[in-house]
Symmetry: C2
Subunit: 442 residues, 2 copies
Amino acid sequence: MSKPTPISGFPEWTPAQRMIEQFVLDRIRATFELYGFAPLETRAVEPLDQLLRKGETSKEVYVIRRLHEEPGATAGDDSLGLHFDLTVPFARYVLENAGKLQFPFRRYQIQKVWRGERPQEGRYREFVQADIDIVDRDTLAAHHEAEMPLVIGDALRSLPIPPVTIQVNNRKICEGFYRGIGLTDPEATLRAVDKLDKIGPAKVADLLAETAGASPAQAKACLALAEISAPDASFADAVHALGVTDPLLEEGIAELVAVVQTAAAHSPGLCVADLRIARGLDYYTGTVYETQLAGYERFGSICSGGRYDNLASAGAVSYPGVGISIGVTRLLGLLFGAGELSVSRSVPTCVLVAVANEEQRTASNRVAEALRRQGVPTEVSPSAAKFGKQIRYAERRGIPYVWFPGAEGAADEVKDIRSGTQVEAVAGQWTPPAADRTPLVG
Amino acid sequence: MSKPTPISGFPEWTPAQRMIEQFVLDRIRATFELYGFAPLETRAVEPLDQLLRKGETSKEVYVIRRLHEEPGATAGDDSLGLHFDLTVPFARYVLENAGKLQFPFRRYQIQKVWRGERPQEGRYREFVQADIDIVDRDTLAAHHEAEMPLVIGDALRSLPIPPVTIQVNNRKICEGFYRGIGLTDPEATLRAVDKLDKIGPAKVADLLAETAGASPAQAKACLALAEISAPDASFADAVHALGVTDPLLEEGIAELVAVVQTAAAHSPGLCVADLRIARGLDYYTGTVYETQLAGYERFGSICSGGRYDNLASAGAVSYPGVGISIGVTRLLGLLFGAGELSVSRSVPTCVLVAVANEEQRTASNRVAEALRRQGVPTEVSPSAAKFGKQIRYAERRGIPYVWFPGAEGAADEVKDIRSGTQVEAVAGQWTPPAADRTPLVG
């Protein structure tokens, strides 16, 4: 068999990187649970018609079929695709299980998703997302929109990564403002403003004229709104200074003030009201979130979401929600690429028990059992080679301790192979310093 | 939108069941790490030719393609399939990364796999496996085969499930024995013997005559071998009593004796030598493992594997390995189906902080922050409804405590809503009993 090669867009971490990823996922999960979000996992596949409801993303969907589909089979499998996010499956899950769920329903979901996009740095075809959402029946209180940044702030700041800033806006501000200045197509307007970072204000003004029928004055007002950014409620004054009035605009301002103030009370500097944040053409109807990682801004948001009122409804009942999603693979890919995250060893093992000769393997196994009962990750040496070679086995993997079972009644000894210190020890009593017990990520 | 319905073979647990699954996966992972296995995750897709190397399983593979594949695109995506186990991807990963890995390489891998089989109880199209493997370069010491049952025994016995028995056999025993009695097609013989549980000894004898050219005496000898079962090394005497001699048979007996004795020293009763265990037509060349869950034997093995010498090789270098895989979804599906596993609440939340009125939400948020800093999973009440209604919110989810922030300088109070006991408490100092902190699984 010839040597296999990687598949573009489908990243695979080394075991050491996977240890870092698990550390990151454990911390994120712990924070989500600390806020009372219940875990959920949905199947990897959805009916294709569900996946295509959003329209725009259809080109990204992977369809699956059984290799040997029976000729007379129903369309069942043919119409399944891999999910491209966790929000669409969650909305489907809520509708399917509404009778069994308690509302408001708070859930987190950490899973892989797949998109057939062109791979590039920070963009993958298979990647992990970590989502939280709160969904209620009929109405969802706006204070849930203020809670999202607290959770995400705590989750991301529990990680050994650069500082993050969560940028928030509110769709009602944009739509109310556009309506207030007489523009009738808020979606086209948003779509144009969303390109600000990519094409600059002059071209956005042209686009506004072209696609949203904006006059030069209207385009100028839209751009002025998008330029507003403040770390506190003062953004509201800046909006009011533009002299536009509209009830939806005022509703949006009040909601965004609450989000910014709640975040500031929790952790100053975490949130910034940034009125250019639009989140494309998505299904958002209230607060929207994006997140910048300091030093990696050019790769875009690492954590995004917003409020959606119309994603799930059955008959007269609707399930408005708010959610946010951490792009875990993007985050790790960027930091791994920059050599920014490391782990103190490439295996979980803290102690390698040496084997004097194969006849003594049982004695070494007994030592290992005693160490494991103390919660110390332990391997028994795979060979009874010279001790120097067994020590090198540990060294190459970063295992900090080698244990030598005592021969013929002599005491056991344990050697810290970093310092060379070797001391007598009793398996079942000895434990390593806390910092050595599990690999350190930093 | 009409109510969505489940897709057969793609199970989805409730949040409470998912908490149980996470508990189970955490315990399994902790045991794997305690034995020094490093984590690995491979992409969900493999080139189709890799997946079809085993031949027999080709009908089960799911192929993926991009919905809007460009007409002129290369075959890239067309020839990808979802992996149906974690062993084939692991063998591929080892070949691809051999230069970067330290051998023997011990890894665990816990992921979903997909098979297009007909769904039935205990069989799914999407399910989670938890695998460990040890792979070395050129040769792999036999003592690694004796280590597998220790790890699996510890992992499964850390779970609140019925007792398990690991059945072990060794391919060398079968092949050596068949050769020793003059049968020349060991694969056909194994295939026939493997049907013993399904079709009984008389029909197996017919099949042996038909497909392996066995005489009545040879068929009888094969059946006599398959009937041997012992919890200790005495199986070897029973084999020898059949009067067959062959060097490969003796090698297999010695290896299986070591496996059984190592397991007995670690935990008596865990392992049984059972010479009918064949593991079908797979790639195994030494020890093979199956695992019975007491009371669920009719659903088959919940944890299987074996030694394989020829799964991965590149040029003159081969990578023999031994591995075993826990069928986590099958295990959980059976126990959930029997109502055997439960969790003490349906959310991680330990404390619900009441909200007296919306103006006081900030004060309740502050209490929640102080509780979370103590590691206590906490939610703030979603509404400032009457306290009775807020208590019912907690009750319905099994949240054990409701916290009442004190009004106007009065002390806060916390109520255990199970007992009704309400006491004064200070957020940041109060902590719940350890048993209440996280949901209990049992």
